[in-house]
């Protein structure tokens, strides 16, 4: 692969990364949600008991201010719409926009809420910022029907917010405000206050001022400037809804404490009325009063919620000590926040006295038993008691997948002791769907059998990888040594070998001369000269082979010192210039430049008979250039004595990917060596990182050569 091709590939990779980053950014910034499905992880509950079924999100709790938030806190201008239904007769429910900094609590977020309120039958719009500031409460003609879906749409653009509700009869109610100060971005969500509620067809999409104007349909936005920011329903101060609420809670007949129901006949069903709080809805309804809990197998209230204070009249039977009510007629007295359940120990739960009660238990997870599609069963141990926890898989899919044996859990649920749920355990806990019912108090230690196997495999892989890398480094080191040997062989061939050949030739000439009776004085003189020159050459070679690492931190100075050492006593003028900001060079680069520079200086001093020598070292942003120019004999004239020296220089330049150019113009010889410098942080320069970069370049170059 050529350098240009490499650049193209790198450019494409960079562009692809940039495009992916841009797409991610756009996706993050573009408001878009369609329904609740397939986005279970994208929603965060703050209180409530949430359940998603057939595309309908339902909060089964009467909690004040239960909310479910999703989307991105960076979303800016958008519309949110959904079909909304209240399931309780007292409370409000609707949509949240531009939510920031959410916490669990009643109005504990910074944002806006638009919804339907049954207390005064209004469409309301207001600001929530850890407190409630109500802007608008517009009466809804015909009042709000419980369990009926209303299509609610909110558009927020800039600091203007509009909300519209479509009425079942075909009409619409609109209201909106234009604020001077608001959250410019924020998440979306749904919220219900003191009532269970349902949402479906939830949709979020980008919106503009045109969308807001279309939603408002000519209705003016209320503003502080115009004195119309606040507009509450005319009958908002009416005592009527409060009186009505009081009358709704009238108790009928006499109720029996749950504990007393245990004394009813075990053989015949008895009609009785109980009063208590709904604690669990699935797998069956549980109602609890101060004396105990009872399961309600069938009843006539489709919209019961956890926390509902109810009066139920029905047929009560007792079998195996467990109370069951059937065909219950339910009257919802109050919609309350469910009270916190008591914490008990597994020993207490195992006595059976707490059957049917909502409690908090702690235990250590032993294992997850085989689960059906709808239900998960956990087996826990606490204080020697083994018990089961029955979990609705739909509600706890994410949590179940993360549980590890050995973890300590805190669980909230209803106790059941019958073998149908408990199996061969002491008892079973039917886990509540309310948020926080399943908490991991202590994670299992990491040294489980599976983790130890994983870690062992990882260590083995790392060890094998390390050995392979070590062998590769060693191999490359040997290759480098062999290359150096090759260069050394060339040097010796240039100098000592040639000299010995010449000396041998002269000695043969001496022998021939002696055979012919002539004096061998001339040949002996030449041989002595050649021995002396060879000795000088060898000494020089040995000198240059010594490590100069210490001096390589200042390359120009090292080259100048080298030249001065070679011309010591001579008349050669040396000029040494360093241009640009000197910097620390990778060792291989510095060594290569020094060796090639040294060889060039040596050629100029010993063979070219030059009178001046110029050494220029130029540091540029991405390049390093060495230029050595002498005014001696032409390259062609000294070629016979420097041929293999040039080979060695070329070889060294190739090893670091540098470009070497040797030229003569009739007035001397110039040697130009140039290489590209990789911009690396100073701390990394000279380390293995640069070596790795060179290795990559070298590999690419070799691959290209093989092609």
């Amino acid at each position: 692969m050529s350098k240009s091709k490499l650049k193209v590939v790198l450019s494409i990779v960079v562009l692809a990364i940039a495009a992916a980053a841009w797409a991610g950014y756009r996706s993050l910034m573009r408001p878009s949600i369609a329904g609740f499905s397939n986005q279970a992880d994208a929603w965060t509950p703050y209180g409530g008991a949430w359940q998603l079924s057939d595309g309908i999100m339902r909060n089964n709790s009467d909690e004040r201010g239960a909310k479910l938030l999703g989307g991105s806190k960076y979303w800016k201008d958008y519309s949110v719409e959904s079909d909304v239904a209240l399931l309780g007769s007292y409370g409000d429910t609707g949509l949240i926009v531009r939510a920031r900094d959410p916490e669990q609590g009643v109005d504990s977020y910074s944002g806006f809420f638009a919804g339907l309120r049954t207390l005064d039958n209004t469409l309301l719009l207001g600001r929530s910022d850890f407190g409630w500031e109500e802007y608008k409460a517009t009466p809804i003609p015909g009042n709000i029907e419980v369990r009926r879906f209303y299509h609610l749409k909110v558009v927020v653009v800039g600091c203007s917010i509009g909300v519209m509700v479509n009425l079942p009869g075909g009409g619409v109610v609109r209201e909106g405000v234009e604020l001077t100060n608001c959250n410019r971005t924020g998440e979306v969500g749904v919220k219900s206050y003191q009532t269970p509620a349902m949402w479906k067809n939830f949709r979020v999409q980008p919106a503009t001022m045109d969308d807001l104007n279309a939603l408002m349909g000519g209705t003016a936005l209320g503003s502080h400037r115009a004195g119309t920011l606040y507009g509450v329903a005319q009958h908002a101060n009416d005592i009527g809804p409060i009186q009505q609420e009081a009358l709704n809670h009238r108790l009928e007949g006499v109720t029996v404490p749950v504990a007393e129901l245990k004394l009813l006949s075990p053989t015949t069903a008895t009609q009785a009325s109980i009063r208590g709080v709904v604690r669990l809805l699935s797998p069956m309804v549980y109602v609890e009063d101060a004396t105990g809990g009872i399961a309600v197998e069938s009843h006539d209230a489709p919209a019961l919620a956890i926390g509902d204070e109810v009066q139920i009249t029905g047929s009560i039977s007792r079998s195996a000590g467990l109370l069951v009510m059937r065909e219950g007629h339910v009257k919802i007295l109050w919609s309350n926040n469910p009270a916190s359940p008591p914490m008990i120990t597994a020993d207490e739960a195992a006595t059976g006295d707490e059957d049917g009660r909502l409690v908090v238990l702690q235990g250590t997870l032993m294992r997850t038993l085989e689960t059906s599609g709808q239900e998960g069963v956990l087996e826990l141990e606490a204080r020697g008691e083994v018990f089961r926890v029955i979990v609705e898989a739909n509600n706890y899919e994410r949590e179940l997948s993360k549980l590890r044996p050995g973890s300590e859990l805190q669980l909230t649920g209803v106790i059941r002791s019958d073998p149908g749920f408990a199996g061969d355990s002491a008892f079973a806990l039917l886990l509540s769907p309310s948020q926080g019912a399943l908490r991991v108090t202590h994670e299992a230690p990491w040294w489980t059998r599976r983790h130890i196997v994983y870690v062992t495999i990882l260590v083995l892989v790392l060890a094998v990888g390390g050995v392979m890398i070590y062998n590769e480094i060693k191999h490359r080191y040997l290759l480098h040594v062999l290359e150096e040997r090759e260069l050394l062989a060339h040097d010796l061939h240039d100098t000592v070998s040639q000299s010995f050949a010449g000396i041998g030739f002269q000695l043969r000439a001496v022998e021939d001369t002696l055979g012919s009776g002539k004096s061998p004085q001339l040949q002996l003189g030449r041989a002595q000269t050649m021995v002396r020159e060879s000795h000088e050459e060898l000494r020089r070679s040995i000198t240059t082979l010594r490590s100069e690492v210490a001096s390589l931190s200042n390359l120009a100075a090292a080259l100048k010192a080298c030249a001065e050492r070679l011309v010591e006593g001579g008349s050669l003028t040396i000029e040494c210039v360093s241009e640009g900001e000197p910097r620390r060079l990778p060792l291989r680069v510095a060594d290569c430049f020094f060796r090639i520079g040294q060889e060039s200086i040596s050629n100029a001093v010993l063979h070219a008979e030059a009178s001046s020598l110029s050494i220029r070292l130029r540091y540029e942003a991405r390049h390093l250039t060495l230029l050595i120019v002498d005014n001696g004999r032409w390259l062609s004239e000294k070629k016979e004595s420097t041929g293999n020296g040039l080979f060695g220089m070329s070889k060294r330049a190739e090893m670091i990917g540098a470009h070497l150019q040797v030229s003569s113009d009739g007035h001397g010889t110039s040697v130009r060596l140039e290489t590209e410098l990789v911009r690396l942080p100073h701390l990394l320069n000279g380390s293995g990182v640069h070596g790795f970069w060179l290795y990559l370049k070298d590999s690419i170059r070799k691959g290209e050569r093989h092609d």
Binding site: G105, V106, G131, N181, I242, L333, N337, S340, H682
Partner: protein, 324 residues
């Protein structure tokens, strides 16, 4: 200067700057106010007052509390989070004095200015202040109102007594002491403890109305029991005249219709404002006044439309004053 020396200097300077930045803590910009609950409007006026008080020293107010009046665990968690968070101080209305005592002690030991409203936790430090409503006086006010309503003769029942709250006990003591002193012709024929469960309070109210002795008036010592008494009155099978004097301003509207005669209200807005100002003093390093007792306000049909009630009890315009 060589490049490596330059780099080293740059690196040193960066590390020093980083250390300075890491060592610096941003000055807290908020006070946190943790009421008993944010689920009823009783404490919203305290929020509004605190916003005004905190603004005097350039601080904001973070207002959050449990959704239920009896969620002690939730309040403990909120307090603990606030203690660890970056707040200039904490204003707390404890659900239960005993349970909050140690957490407050720990936070106060760390030097955080703390104001406790409604209960005396017994912690005496220069950075802890208490703002208490004069509960005994409130009880006396209720007794005087009952005495006037019954013209000094009749039977009353007390509901909503919380034996774990000194404020509740003080209310009852003040009421009965004043009643026996000034209106000996009025007898207390029943006493019931209370909870925050409205259904339970309604049931208690109905039980009291079913006593063999006819009850002429109910005195409800908490917001929940006041609502329970009101609902019990409306649900009487055999409607008869019944006076109700309640405590805490959760339900003021029936005063307009005469269904509730009076409510002894806490001046929560004033208390909230003074509490935030006390935190401001603590932030400035000034000693905080240990205890302040605020007189309650009797709200009746005669004054419910007046400026005093509007100023002291309603939470209106807390946002306007702060932001718009």
């Amino acid at each position: 200067m060589s490049s490596s020396a330059g780099f080293r200097r740059w690196l040193m300077a960066s590390l020093m700057l980083l250390a300075v930045v890491a060592g610096c803590r941003r000055a807290p910009k908020q006070i946190t106010l943790i009421p008993i609950t944010t689920g009823v409007p009783l404490w919203d006026a305290a929020h509004a007052g605190a916003v005004v008080g905190a603004a005097s020293c350039g601080l904001g107010v973070h207002y959050n509390g449990p959704a239920r009046d009896d969620d002690l665990q939730g309040q403990l968690t909120l307090f603990d989070n606030s203690r660890r968070g970056e707040y200039a101080g904490i204003i707390l209305v404890p659900i239960q004095a005993q349970a909050l005592r140690n957490p407050v002690q720990r936070a106060a030991s760390a030097g955080l200015p703390i104001v406790v409203i409604g209960e005396d936790l017994g912690i005496r430090r220069s950075n802890v202040a208490y703002f208490l409503s004069d509960e005994r006086l409130g009880g006396q006010m209720a007794a005087d109102e009952i005495g006037a309503l019954l013209h000094g003769k009749g039977a009353v029942a007390i509901m909503g007594l919380d034996l774990n709250r000194s404020s509740s006990l003080e209310r009852e003591r003040g009421f009965e002491a004043e009643l026996s002193k000034s209106f000996p012709g009025i007898q207390v024929v029943g006493r019931r403890s209370g909870s925050v469960n409205l259904a339970q309070e309604q049931q208690i109210g109905q039980e009291l109305l079913s006593l063999p002795v006819q009850v002429d008036a109910l005195v409800a010592l908490s917001a929940a029991s006041t609502r329970g008494a009101y609902f019990a009155k409306l649900n009487q099978a055999d409607p008869r005249p019944l006076h109700i004097v309640g405590f805490d301003q959760d339900l003021l509207m029936p005063i307009n219709t005469g269904e509730i005669d009076a409510i002894v209200a806490m001046r929560t807005r004033q208390i909230g404002k003074m509490a935030a100002e006390a935190i401001c003093a603590g932030v400035r390093g000034e000693p905080m006044k240990a205890g302040t007792v605020v007189q309650p306000l009797l709200v009746t049909a005669a004054n419910i439309g007046g400026a005093e009630v509007a100023d002291e009890l309603l939470d209106r315009a807390w946002w306007d004053e702060r932001k718009e």
